[in-house]
Amino acid sequence: MAAAKPAPILAVRDLVKNYGPVRAVRGISFDVRRDCCFGLLGPNGAGKTTTVEIIEGVTPATSGEVLYQGKPAGAAFRQDAGVQFQTAALQDFITVRETLEMFHRLYRHRADLGQVISDCALDKLEKRDNRKLSGGQRQRLLLGIALVNDPKILFLDEPTTGMDPQARRNFWELVERIRARGKTIVLTTHYMEEAQTLCDEIVIMNEGEIITQGAPEQLLKAHYKAIILELPESDLAEMPPEFPFPSYRRNGLVEIHADDANEAITRLSRAGAPLGRLNIRPYRLEDLFLDLTGKELRP
């Protein structure tokens, strides 16, 4: 008998969504473990937003099912879930605090509103009209709304798009704190660094299908035995003859994917290439993403 696996908090089964002829989601299945930060990655139009909106119960699926704690997601799920949409309109003429208060009152189980406000760094904006927020401030308000019910499971659809680097780091810290309180998080993002920092498990989607799934570290280990050497293109006009490793030119850099770094460096120096600006790095999620989807990232 296999060891009893803890039941997933969320299970997605054979989800399909067609918008007329557009097959946005093409029969995907995955489980989200309790207390896990689950990342949904993929290029523009991959079907990430469609997938999370079906889970949230906001978009009807063409077929397939979503189970929350083993049962079809329904009223209990809506009480427990916190949702931050990629884009969401709010009421005009209402302040940040009033907006939070309104959503707060819709739930049975409620978070401490003062805590939510300080978590999302909205203290100084409480009395500001919704419409007068900057892009990043608005993202923080949308996050605040997602937290008013102290959710057991939190959905974040590209939460840091439009945030400055400082706000993004603060946001990551906040997500870590929320996780530490035993919450489950489902996150979609275009930022591989974000996914690598926050997520225990990721799914990479492309054209409505899952192309790979697992813990970031394991995925990298499974896909790459090699290491990456980077040199500025100007230092290496052309590759030495009979160079045994594949190389790519991207963004002014030559990337050499070498499973034997010593061998690669020896050959480069023998060919007389200046190595003063050589950079050696492990594979990152970004490399995997590019290799698998064949698409450039556009945050």
Partner: protein, 337 residues
């Protein structure tokens, strides 16, 4: 549930009250309308003479009386009781019962005096028994004001609610609400309450203004009138919600709402009485809640009806509400695609 309704209601009210331009328009427009009415109708004259024919069917068989040939006279078949009331308050100039050989006249009405002279001159001596019927005059303004108040409620409830819901749906606010425990009925209840508060507030304001400026008649029960206004508002908001249940464009919503409001404005008896209109028009007008609301309001304000007298109309308004709320709740969609 109540808490959720109030959360939405409160936020909606804040939004509305702070939207000064829209608020101003909602209050100022009807006030301007009433002021215009006051200016136009303070003279209170009219061009046609109106004569009620009691037991008109019996008369139809007999050869036409020469008086019925008189030009610029409008002859309206009517029940005896109603006819006498209207003669008493100057809405009719004369009521004639050919069967009984009697006519009723308000001795203080100038129109009545004139109509009587004409009747006498086209009749034999001693043909008629003269019966006096007296009371305060009801002017056209007295009659019109309930219509104006009702029409204002209609526009406010239908367009106000319809457009807001469509805008919320179009910009995705409703979609955001769908991800919360809020249910469609709760959302709808909050919209009804919010609009009801506004409509009643404006109506009270207008009612006060017309009493003050135009000294309009109010014979019956204030409570009954208030209930009529409340139920009329709710039933009209329900229609607005049903119309806006899944529409996602303001243009389409506007078209649908116009489709409902224009016939109501013309056929519910806002501007002129349908008493003289063809039978089918009168029957058609009965499908509009506004018709019943106005009948009730006029019965109360002009003829002193009480709560019991307007119960049938109140029940009809409640029934309309139930029907359209059910339709609205069944058809309701949060999102636009």
């Amino acid at each position: 549930m109540i808490q959720r309704i109030f959360a939405i209601l409160h936020a909606r009210n804040l939004e509305f009250l702070r939207d000064r331009a829209t608020l101003g328009w909602n209050v100022a427009m009807p006030l301007l309308l009433v002021a215009g009415m006051a200016a136009i109708f303070s003279g209170g004259d009219r061009s046609e003479y109106k004569v009620a024919l009691i037991q008109a069917e019996a008369q139809a068989a007999a050869p036409a009386h020469p008086f019925l040939e008189t030009r610029y006279f409008d002859f309206i078949p009517m029940e005896r009781g109603e006819a006498l009331d209207r003669v008493a308050n100057h809405q009719l100039d004369l009521a004639i019962d050919f069967g009984a050989g009697a006519y009723w006249i308000n001795p203080e009405s100038p129109g009545g005096y004139f109509a009587e002279r004409l009747l006498q001159s086209s009749s034999k001596d001693g043909e008629w028994i003269r019966e006096p019927a007296s009371g305060d005059p009801i002017s056209y303004v007295d009659w019109l004001i309930p219509g104006i108040l009702g029409m204002n409620i209609m526009f406010s409830c239908l367009f106000g609610v319809g457009y807001v819901v469509v805008r919320y749906r179009k910009n995705g606010f409703l979609k955001r609400l769908k991800a919360t425990p809020l249910r469609p009925v709760e959302f709808m209840a909050a919209q009804i309450l919010s609009r009801l508060m506004l409509a009643i507030f404006v109506t009270l304001l207008l009612y006060g203004a017309t009493r003050l400026l135009l000294d309009i008649r109010m014979e019956g029960s204030g409570l009954a009138l208030f209930l009529v206004a409340v139920l009329a508002s709710i039933s009209l908001v329900s229609i607005g919600l049903a119309m806006a249940a899944r529409v996602t464009s303001e243009e389409l919503a506007g078209g649908l709402l116009n489709l409902v409001t224009w016939p109501m404005m013309l056929l519910s008896g806002v501007w002129f009485s349908l008493a003289g209109a063809p039978q089918w028009v009168q029957q058609l007008s009965n499908i509009f809640p506004l018709t019943h609301a106005l009948t009730a309001a006029r019965d109360i304000m002009l003829y002193g009806a009480g709560l019991g007298d307007v119960l049938p109309q109140l029940l009809i308004l409640a029934g309309t509400t139930a029907v359209f709320l059910t339709i609205g709740a069944t058809m309701f969609r949060w999102r636009s695609a």
